[in-house]
Symmetry: C2
């Protein structure tokens, strides 16, 4: 029997985790093919042509991303920790605590991501893990990260994730105690129907959860005080922690019980799409009838429907602006001296058509005008941005579409800069958490005048939409 | 023929890169075994017992880390980019530039790491890649990251890395131009022999390099101005760039031609260790006689020899301090009211004994004293830290050793916090770039008094030793 027939030939990665060789390929496996077929149904439900070149491989990309993002189901903690427990002297208890007896060890700021079990959209995690060694032994530091990752790479809820990491490390290391603190950020798009109304929309649902065992079992324990003292530097203070009771209410913005009904309101959900989303859960090895997953297919479909292909064109309704000419009362036409004007930090939300994953950030628009004021107003520009954002997109196209449209609104000389975080660069195999993407579109004078471009670009303040970066201020 | 006999059965990862199935296992492959044997020779040369439990699997871990960190040799850019070029409309050139024609695309802040070809120690990279699309097509954004990573995962020099990424993307995408900007940080340890003399030691050698093709070919081109305007937010300005001429001088602190001779000066290098390091290069698929690699084995061995097992014990030479008692002139003994004193941010440098990779950061020491001043001085504490740092270590042990020693110097009640960045958490399969590790050791009063611990921990200012974080201020 050759390799290709043997889907379960195991190879061992550095972490001692066994992965099937074929799984790493993924392509052609029945589960992958099933997800691909489901994604085709979803794309068709969005009114897309699945044979369009940009979408041709999207089903395969989505299937691989989902399967790679859920490899945790196949990983065993015992395999990860085994062979990474090392003898290490401690101090005599009468003297103090350090090393392999009682010396607190904390690994901070591990970047992880999970798929939200309520809506199937990835959420970001800053994970802090600590433990207190016992019995003159310590665990290799990287194993704390490996174990956390094995549980993150599943369909998850923040509190369950914290509990599972905690319990697994407790069993694997058998220490005096384990502490897990997770800062989770879930994208929270404005509703496509209501984006005009909600100009102060908060882009992230955030939750801070903890789980503790042993000396961390009691949330008032001194061990937690030490742990939080080490977290304080990161803007986290004890009173902000939603200790274990936050399981009561689902944090996902797509969950109706959260009091925020998020739905495309475009009519009853397409049963074919719901069935397709359900089959995706099954292909990932999940049980779609598990209590927490019952509403997931319809949440996911509702979300996707925000990006359906409407074929509407943006109607400019007489907003088209002429050149910046000014007619004096005597009939003389004068070209006014024009000044650079900007509308900065217009938020946008979109869906990557290659991976069906969100990307979002800000749009900056620069233009020349003699009037000194924006002739059409920030809110109209914001709706142009939303109009093109709420589609299956690529950032390059979004830049072009906004530049073209705004150019006809504002009179020809327009520059657009889009700065975005792409979920597809953070999750999947890439995991470039801090990365972000800038694209530029220029029309008219900006395309030939480097000084004009530079003047615009230098008017833009520093950019930070990273999910984790502003956690402390909005948690 | 079964799978196990076929070392070259290819599986395709998400990025289209073919990796041999067995390579992913690595264990047992001839190249891995050869590196393991070489690492045993190196450990013995350091005076270590290769059968000590903490070191037992070190040869295998080092071999896997090195091979995983150099998988780039086997990746083909064509395979990565193929299938990820998408048709995308642009604007008419007469109107402007956007989308698939001329709209600059920049992916910023990709975290990468490479092995320095001069000394075989990993260095960190913040990579910024841009290109100007041409011919109505764009490339999937993640491929810019994949291609950069394929060249980073080799033995590298910053300028060559920039050139290779640039040239590969240019050939793969055939755009109007490619721009690559790399911020590289190479650990620059103080010499074990001279750490007393160099209290202002800079922990990082840093270099900023760029490479451009097409519209970025000329470094004065307008395209570069646009690119740098987008970088400005990150503290990089044009005049800080060592444009292509920086190849003249090697940046690696271990290279004698840089004017900084870094050597353990512990006598002539052990020929067996040099031969072992040379065989590692060969096992990674490199040619040890390549010009840039000629000195690498001896640089690597010189570096390692800083951490040799000396079996010296730290001699306290009468520095042992008694209790904080004070004898009045009338002979009455009074226990003074003691206050918390701290010595913060003592730098340390060490070598992880599990992976033979550097870890480094700061040590904070808290103690109680009635005198109001440090009775032994910061420099002695700094040398205690260096004494225990310059060994094959684990952070937990380092905390214990420093706590124990300082406790005998400063009178019993001591708390030690070590905050560290571990190269082994950044490179290899983990790649948790922003992560850092805190360990605590407590002696005496601190082990029973949570308020004392908390008082100490809260006296410590925010921590940031990340290589990239302070690039702009020291470049």
């Amino acid at each position: 029997m050759g390799c290709l027939d043997d889907g379960h030939f195991g190879v061992e990665l550095d972490n001692g985790v066994k992965l099937s060789c074929i799984e790493l390929g993924l392509e052609g496996e029945p589960e992958t093919v099933a997800i691909e077929n489901a994604v085709k149904v979803l794309l068709q439900g969005l009114g897309e042509d699945v044979n369009r070149e940009g979408l041709l491989k999207t089903p395969l990309r989505v299937a691989k991303a989902l399967r790679q993002g859920t490899t945790g189901y196949k990983q065993k903690v015992k395999d990860i920790v085994q062979g990474a427990l090392f003898p290490e002297s401690g101090l005599d208890n009468a003297v103090g605590y350090a090393g392999g007896v009682g010396g607190l060890v904390v690994v901070r700021d591990l970047d992880l991501f999970s798929y939200c079990e309520t809506c199937l959209i990835p959420f970001q995690i800053k994970c802090h893990v600590g433990y207190v060694p016992r019995g003159q032994r310590v665990v290799g530091l990287s194993k704390l990260s490996r174990v956390a990752d094995a549980f993150a790479k599943r369909l998850q809820d923040p509190q369950r994730l914290a509990n599972e990491i905690c319990s697994a490390l407790d069993q694997g290391i058998k220490p005096a105690g384990v502490a897990v603190l997770l800062q989770c950020s879930h994208v929270r798009f404005p509703n496509v129907q209501s984006f005009f109304l909600d100009s102060n929309h908060q882009g992230w649902a955030k939750v801070l959860v903890s789980s503790g065992s042993g000396v961390f079992e009691n949330e008032k324990a001194d061990a937690w005080s030490d742990f939080f003292s080490l977290m304080r530097f990161r803007g986290i203070s004890l009173d902000k922690i939603h200790m274990r009771d936050c399981t009561e209410q689902c944090w996902c913005p797509f969950h109706s019980s959260s009091g925020e009904i998020f739905s495309s309101n475009i009519g009853p959900a397409n049963p074919g799409m719901i069935a397709a989303a359900t089959s995706i859960l099954r292909s990932l090895g999940e049980d779609p009838s598990r209590k927490e997953l019952i509403g997931t297919p319809s949440h996911f479909v509702d979300w996707l429907m925000n990006f359906q292909n409407t074929n509407f064109e943006m109607k400019l309704n007489g907003f088209v602006k002429g050149k910046n000419d000014y007619i004096r009362s005597n009939g003389e036409i004068i070209r006014n001296e024009e000044q650079l004007h900007t509308e900065l930090n217009l938020s946008f939300w979109s869906q990557c058509e290659h991976h069906l994953l969100p990307f979002h950030g800000v749009v900056h628009i620069g233009y020349f005008s003699a009037d000194g004021i924006d002739p059409i107003g920030r809110s109209l520009l914001q709706s142009v941005v939303h109009f093109y954002g709420f589609k299956l997109q690529v950032q390059e196209r979004l830049s072009r579409q906004i530049a073209q449209t705004v150019s006809s609104l504002l009179g020809g000389d327009v520059m657009v800069l889009i700065e975005a975080n792409h979920t597809c660069m953070i999750s999947r195999g890439i995991e470039k958490v801090g990365s972000n993407t800038a694209t530029i579109g220029v029309v008219g004078r900006f395309s030939t005048d480097p000084a004009a471009r530079s003047m615009f670009l230098e008017s833009i303040p520093n950019f930070a939409t990273s999910a984790g970066s502003d956690f402390s201020s909005t948690a």
